[in-house]
């Protein structure tokens, strides 16, 4: 990194007049980004690291407390581990479900029959609905007594679970709600499917491959880069998952939906323990980076890139 910077410096010194002019121009054009990057990203990253080693509580100057916040999080704070567990559990439940559902819907939409654009729009609409509004609607649908879902189950003779008000069912309920908003992923998978060259399928057809074989030997390998992208995004999404839980369950029942971001938000803005919350934020940052790294490293084994 340092060496690279030095090389860059050398390069700048040896620039021609014309090159210097375009460098100045280019930097002038991107200057809003530079200001935003410095003030809203670079400085906050380091100052949040600093806060995480202090007892910062918003209205008084921060005192250095060393590793205290981290020690407390890892040794004394049961809710911290619970929120981490809840988030990972939720991720492991939601991620495979959303990959399978989004991919399956995209494959169906790619069947080039009439009316596919209609279905595509239909699947997409929920993704642009404000999360607060969809939370309100789903709370009502999942209402154990009078909700639509349990009414429908009752009509076919099934006694529905209490959904959001049961510690066991709360997380699966939120996964159901998340699956409702899967339209963007469907679109991304569909775009990838449409990018697969037709000759591959024609060649497979000549070789006598049936549609299952075509799906598993051509379609799935060809869209592994998109699954990879979906996984990386999904990791960040799960750790940022906030609005639906904040509104629908508020972390309950019995902290069953106390997710990482929710607990972080509470410590930062309700309990005003900002130093402590900064430590949580940095742990989140590291966990997300490690998870992304694992996905990236493992991708060499399962993501298929065309030469």
């Amino acid at each position: 990194m340092l060496k690279e910077l030095r090389v860059q410096k050398e390069k700048i010194r040896s620039l021609t007049k014309q090159e210097k002019r375009s460098l100045r121009l280019g930097l002038a054009f991107i200057s809003p980004w530079i200001v935003g990057f410095l003030i809203l990203i670079l400085y906050p990253i380091f100052s949040s690291l600093y806060y995480s080693f202090t007892d910062f509580a918003s209205f008084r100057p921060p005192n250095w407390v060393g590793l205290n916040n981290y020690v407390e999080l890892f040794t004394r704070d049961d809710k911290f581990f619970l929120s981490l567990y809840n988030t990972i559990f939720f991720f492991l439940l939601a991620m495979p479900a959303s990959v399978i559902v989004a991919l399956a819907l995209a494959i169906l939409l790619n069947s080039k029959l009439r009316g596919m654009t209609f279905f595509r729009s239909l699947f997409f609409v929920p993704t642009i609905v404000p999360a607060v509004a969809s939370a309100a609607v789903w709370m009502w649908i999942l209402n154990p007594q009078w909700g639509l879902l349990n009414a429908a189950l009752r009509l076919v003779g099934i006694h529905g679970p209490p959904w959001l008000s049961s510690p066991d069912w709360a997380k699966p309920s939120l996964v159901l709600v998340a699956l409702w908003g899967i339209g963007s992923e469907v679109i991304i998978y569909l775009a990838a499917l449409q990018g697969i060259p037709r000759d591959y399928y024609e060649a497979a057809l000549v070789d006598g491959a049936n549609s299952w074989q075509r799906t598993f030997s051509i379609t799935i390998p060809m869209i592994t880069p998109v699954i990879f992208f979906h996984l990386v995004n999904g990791t960040i999404w799960a750790f940022q998952y906030f609005t639906e839980a904040y509104i629908m369950t508020g972390g309950g029942p019995g902290n069953a939906t106390l997710f990482y971001s929710l607990y972080l938000y509470r410590n930062a803005f309700t309990n005003v323990k900002m130093g402590y919350a900064s430590a949580q934020a940095w742990i989140l940052f590291i966990v997300v980076m490690v998870a992304t790294l694992i996905i990236v490293v493992s991708s060499k084994r399962w993501v298929y890139y065309e030469e």
């Binding site: 080039k112 595509r120 699947f123 929920p126 009502w140 339209g183 989140l284």
Partner: protein, 295 residues
């Protein structure tokens, strides 16, 4: 697949007939699955509207009333009076307008700098732009809040508007992709005629980039309209609440009647739904190209 027929033309007749039949069955299965899934996506909307038109007793009956008669349109009026939704609406519209202006202003400049001017180190810096997409917002949330508090901006719209004027990695990326595709001969010709870089951006690039500009306008509008965490952190005065924040305070009051809540939710959804109906191709294309998300 239609060209299966072409490939199978030379095969024995009864095989072909069997194949065509199987294909019909496959199509039927595809439609059945799509319709069942379609229900899953559309029913919450219908249930919301149905509930919003019910009387109080109709809400709590089994089997549920699907088509309440006569529809209680006055629930909408009541909901609007129960909480100042008109005010929330204007607040959200104002906020969205400011954010859209900021987004268009900053990202066109930034994307131009990353695509139409060649400068040393440009692509290295752009990698940093892309890397910031991976940064979870929670990491910067607290220090950014502190910065805005030092500026005395808490409780107002500035913390929600000003960042839009400082660029957004997704929109910069989308515009840069678009700008790169515009022939460089056009800017060279303008440059020879003595046009400045800003002039080229304004007179040459922007007129040719309308689809991309529409896309980022729509996305930034909808993201701002739908945003909840931002207003939750920065707005405290009821009078300044956005629609989502107002709706949330409506939900959290436990005595809120369900028909009014559903009416309020429907009203909150209307603007994004209207935008979607008129401009859905921009959303679909924007997402296909960059992997932008609806929320």
């Amino acid at each position: 697949m239609r060209n299966e027929y072409a490939l199978l033309k030379n095969r024995p007749g009864n095989f072909r007939r069997g194949h065509a039949f199987r294909e019909q069955v496959n199509h039927l299965i595809v439609y059945i699955i799509l319709i069942v899934c379609g229900f899953w996506f559309i029913v919450p909307f219908l249930w919301m509207i149905s509930t919003s038109l019910k009387t109080q007793p109709q809400i709590y009956t089994f089997p549920p009333v699907l088509f309440p008669l006569p529809p209680q349109w006055k629930n909408y009026v009541d909901a609007m009076n129960f909480a100042p939704f008109g005010r929330y609406y204007l607040n959200s519209l104002f906020l969205c307008t400011c954010v859209v202006i900021g987004t268009l202003f900053s990202n066109t400049l930034i994307a131009y700098g990353f695509s139409r001017i060649k400068w040393i180190g440009r692509d290295v810096v752009f990698v940093i732009v892309l890397a910031t997409m991976m940064l979870p917002g929670q990491v910067t949330m607290i220090p950014v809040y502190i910065i805005f508090r030092k500026l005395g901006w808490i409780g107002g719209y500035l913390p929600l508007i000003v960042p839009a004027f400082l660029g957004n990695a997704y929109f910069t990326f989308l515009l840069r992709q678009f700008f790169r595709g515009i022939p460089f001969e056009l800017s060279d010709a303008a440059r020879i005629d003595g046009c400045s870089e800003l002039g080229i951006l304004w007179y040459v690039i922007l007129p040719l980039s309308q689809p991309a500009l529409v896309t980022i306008t729509l996305f930034s509008f909808i993201w701002t309209w739908n945003d909840f965490l931002g207003p939750l952190i920065y707005l405290h005065d009821q009078k300044l609440f956005t629609v989502t924040l107002g709706l949330q305070s409506f939900i959290s009051r436990y005595w809120t009647p369900m028909n009014m809540l559903m009416a309020a939710s429907a009203v909150a959804i209307v603007p994004v739904l209207v935008i979607f109906i008129y401009a859905q191709r921009f959303f679909i294309e924007g997402i296909s190209i960059t992997g932008l998300h609806g929320r």
